[in-house]
Symmetry: C2
Subunit: 128 residues, 2 copies
């Protein structure tokens, strides 16, 4: 019920890595993959989701790479996870779907809310 995907983990580690190298040059995905020991092609795919969600931005071509779009302290753990895994909703329970007054739905919503709060409170500067 509560497990981070590899994609989410790689995204976090990748962003932390970029943040840690506070250089003006963009960082190559190949370098990140190698240093973090994650599959490069897969990381490319994960990063593309971060780009689409405005968390990092890419520079193509020679001397290209990735750079953070905002300061590390303005990127929350929540931002990264939802960018990669999509919005956190598990409310596809049978009862929810078939009745507007499913008694479990408020419980899920509350649990999700509390969890999201924590993930929003922590940013990349904290965990780098």
């Amino acid at each position: 019920m509560f497990k981070l995907s590899r994609a989410g983990e790689y995204a976090l580690r990748g962003v932390v890595y970029i943040a840690s190298k506070n250089v003006d040059d963009a960082v190559h995905v190949a370098e990140i993959a190698k240093c973090q020991n994650v599959p490069e092609y897969f990381l490319v795919k994960v990063f593309s989701r971060l780009v689409r969600n405005g968390i990092i931005h890419s520079i193509r071509g020679n001397k290209g790479g990735f750079r953070l779009s905002k300061k590390p302290e303005n990127i929350s753990v929540y931002d990264i996870i939802t960018a990669v895994e999509g919005p956190l909703n598990l409310n596809d329970c049978f009862i929810c779907k078939n009745s507007s007054k499913c008694k479990m739905k408020p419980v899920w919503d509350e649990a999700k809310e509390k969890m999201m709060e924590v993930l929003k409170q922590h940013n990349i500067a904290d965990v780098a």
Copy 2:
């Protein structure tokens, strides 16, 4: 990252069903499966985990079935989910495993804690 399994959902619905029939007779799994529109064999398996974890108890043989081990108000949503899915731990991140000082671990722990709290606060009597 946050999704209830079918097993978890069936378990919840099954327990709620038993609670709703406040009779002294044990309730057959076949009846529950039929009324809840859930695969019977699968529900048997799910229920066996609830038995092992002391949430319901079983009466075998003719006129057998399942009965709650405690009052509905003493069975939390958390109890049922962890009985069926095992303990909620997602802390198998690469960094956690390879370093005792993984900066993400406290975040996961806190998020998990907050979520568990909510699930513990709600019981079967609430959601029945």
